[in-house]
Subunit: 437 residues, 2 copies
């Protein structure tokens, strides 16, 4: 389940009736949402992040949490099972600092931490570090170095290094705590990191980058990958490419799970769900969206038509654009006769596939994608948290459980348990093999 | 009150009977100590830090917390008043990352965060970032830039920028959220930081560096300074130098408070306190300490004499070394006739002045220093936390309160309230004045 700045995945979520206006800075609120997700046996919470203010706060909320590590620490202390994963940039962080904070979270949470290791391409983020965005090849070269050093630092204590022998006056066994001594072209670190292993050994690596570079990074290091397919075909193709990348890196492709972004709007009826999204759409630029909807279906559309459906003539002329994978669905919804406002309320231009409907509609969509092999799981983006987390947990999860598609309880106590990932103590053999590249 | 890795200020604290062996990674334990300190109305907890493993863990515990920001976040969630201050290096951190995490802690804690902005000189720390320690002048030039940028990022929201106007669809007033755009020789950041002000506006700056460079940094930016005087005279001189530095920077010298490091060992009698310290001394190299004690008082001393006092001949020859300010006290204690083991148990070679005795002995020492103007307050280093925090809070604090030397309750809700520091919203005029230097 994705968590952003505290209100919901939709920019207008903060205005929903009943929402806590101070959710952005209110850790009590984050804890309550996390506890609700844990009640639903959700495997993990995922905090995307970019170190920059990239929206106009006049009308929209920040995209990201005030600080993912500190928010996750707050949640870790008041939950017991749910995994805690966040993005942190390999481009603008030192590997020692990343290794230390994620390992500390892993220890504090008793083995529930994960790191989504991504490069950063946002110029505003680069400017916050007084730099320009590096070329793509250079960013990914650095990313490989950062991930390898971080994993080596995480592995610098063997499983039984922390001996705590009071009579023998031996706190730890320094023979089992090794420096790292990795030197890359961009970053380096000597180590060791002074933190013992967690209950899962070390945090889990996730990835979210696209393209060949992102696939290579994911194939080599990641146990989980965040992807944004818009269609089942797209999801199957992305998943296969990922599995191929894992095989090229000499791994079992089942080790790498792909999570597809997905945004449900859950209500008692499809009409009620669309009305919820129409309220949320008050915070987006609908003039621009109507124009873009026209581009997607090959028609010149104007805002004056927003409360009308497409005419018969327009429908006859409409053709889905090959440049946007969401176009076919947009046209399909329009053909059902909805007004343009309602077509948009279906989320046909959102950044994840949207299902606006009942809990059963949502469960049907997830079942269809999962059974078609379009993903290994979902990264659920709740539109507005204050009631949407409970709706998903209390209405959709039981349906998925009844259908045998979702576990009845956590598989264990650590994030690695939840993901059926191997435990990781000491050095990852993949790191020592490849450190010299 | 200083907090280190979780056991106590003495390296042998983890072995004390009753200590929790897993304190290093046990946030419940940190929370309990913090709650005890808060019961005693202690103004703040201070976490020193160096990003490196700089002790041999075979016999000693790590010097520092697994991660100060994450530990402070854990504590912030389960305390209400106590301030939370940690060191973070200006040498090996990006100002944007520092600004974001300390501001997030400030918001999460409702205005209780402080940052001890220090340069780092430890080669092992530099090596963890793949670098060498920069020359002193360069380190301090960067430190000025980092502090200025961090403060500017903290000030990038005016006090009333977060409007939360649901009907007006206005989340924040972007006219009151300004980019920073500072460009130094070493670091730069555009900003703004996407975090609204805390209840105290922004975190408090502390400093701990020595020498002219450190004094200049403290005089310009700090509201609190950690110092390590060994004598009252030394404390008065350091405090005056600090006040002079503040005046040179155009500030009221009363704005900068100096906290003197101080380590009590509290027991029912002086003998019992010395026995506590003798147990702790089992974890230090007593052979080396006996030799060094000899150097301090001008005598060749050997370990074979450890359970004997100085002879009359030795006492006649003894002269305190002018090279170590602790020498006069060492000789004074030796003249009282203690064995060398007990002379050392008095803490005459410790890194802070030590009082091993009753709560009244401890209170007397603090009163004497405070009334002599040797400090504005103390940074109390508890030798072993598991019983030492309670001993200080329940035995020493009431004596100081009875004597009118310590407050009966917190002065307010924020760290700035506790320190009688001015609130700080928006840009600090000192930053805009000096950013161009």
């Amino acid at each position: 389940m994705q968590f952003t700045s505290g209100y919901g995945a939709e920019p207008g979520a903060w205005r929903l009736p009943g929402a806590n206006l101070h959710s952005y800075t209110d850790m009590d609120q984050f804890v309550r949402y996390a506890q609700a997700a844990e009640r639903g046996k959700i495997q993990l919470l995922f905090f995307a992040d970019t170190p920059a203010l990239d929206v106009d706060l006049d009308g929209q909320v920040p995209h990201f949490a005030i600080d993912p590590l500190l928010v996750m620490t707050s949640i870790a202390r008041e939950t017991e099972r749910i995994g805690l994963v966040s993005t942190a940039s390999t481009t603008f962080n030192e590997p020692y600092n990343l290794a230390r904070q994620f390992k500390a979270l892993d220890v504090i949470s008793h083995g529930r931490a994960g790191w989504n290791a991504v490069t950063t391409s946002v110029p505003a983020a680069a400017a916050n570090f007084g730099r320009a965005v590096p070329p793509r090849a250079e960013k990914y070269e650095r990313a490989h170095e950062v991930v390898q050093i971080v994993q080596a630092l995480w592995g610098s204590w063997e499983k039984d290094a922390w001996v705590l022998d009071v009579d023998g006056k031996k706190f730890a066994d320094m023979d089992k705590i090794q420096p790292v001594g990795l030197q890359g072209r961009h970053v380096a670190s000597r180590g060791p990191l002074p933190i013992p292993p967690s209950e899962q050994g070390q945090p889990v690596i996730f990835q979210a980058g696209g393209g060949e570079y992102g696939l290579e990074l994911a194939g080599r290091y990641a146990d989980g990958v965040y992807a944004n397919p818009y269609t089942i075909e797209d999801g199957r193709a992305q998943r296969q490419a990922l599995r191929d990348a894992a095989e090229r890196a000499g791994r079992d492709p089942d080790e790498v799970k792909m999570f597809a972004g997905f945004m449900p709007a859950i209500a008692a009826s499809r009409r009620a769900a669309l009305d919820r999204r129409r309220f949320l759409d008050e915070s987006v630029d609908l003039r621009q969206r109507v124009r873009y909807l026209g581009t997607m279906i090959g028609l010149p559309l104007g805002y004056e038509q927003i409360d009308e459906p497409l005419t018969a003539d327009q429908l006859a002329d409409a053709v889905p654009s090959p440049h946007d994978p969401r176009s076919a669905r947009a046209l399909q919804v329009a053909r059902e006769g909805w007004t343009l406002r309602d077509v948009l309320a279906h989320g046909v231009i959102d950044y994840h596939p949207v299902v606006a409907g009942t809990a059963a509609d949502v469960a049907d969509h997830m079942q269809e994608w999962f059974e078609a092999g379009a993903c290994d799981g979902f990264s659920v983006a709740i539109d507005g948290y204050h009631d949407g987390v409970d709706a998903f947990v209390d209405q959709v999860v039981p349906l998925l459980q009844e259908r045998g598609l979702f576990h009845l309880d956590y598989a264990g106590t650590t994030l690695r348990d939840h993901l059926h990932a191997r435990e990781q103590y000491g050095l990852d053999p993949r790191v020592t093999e490849t450190a010299a590249r």
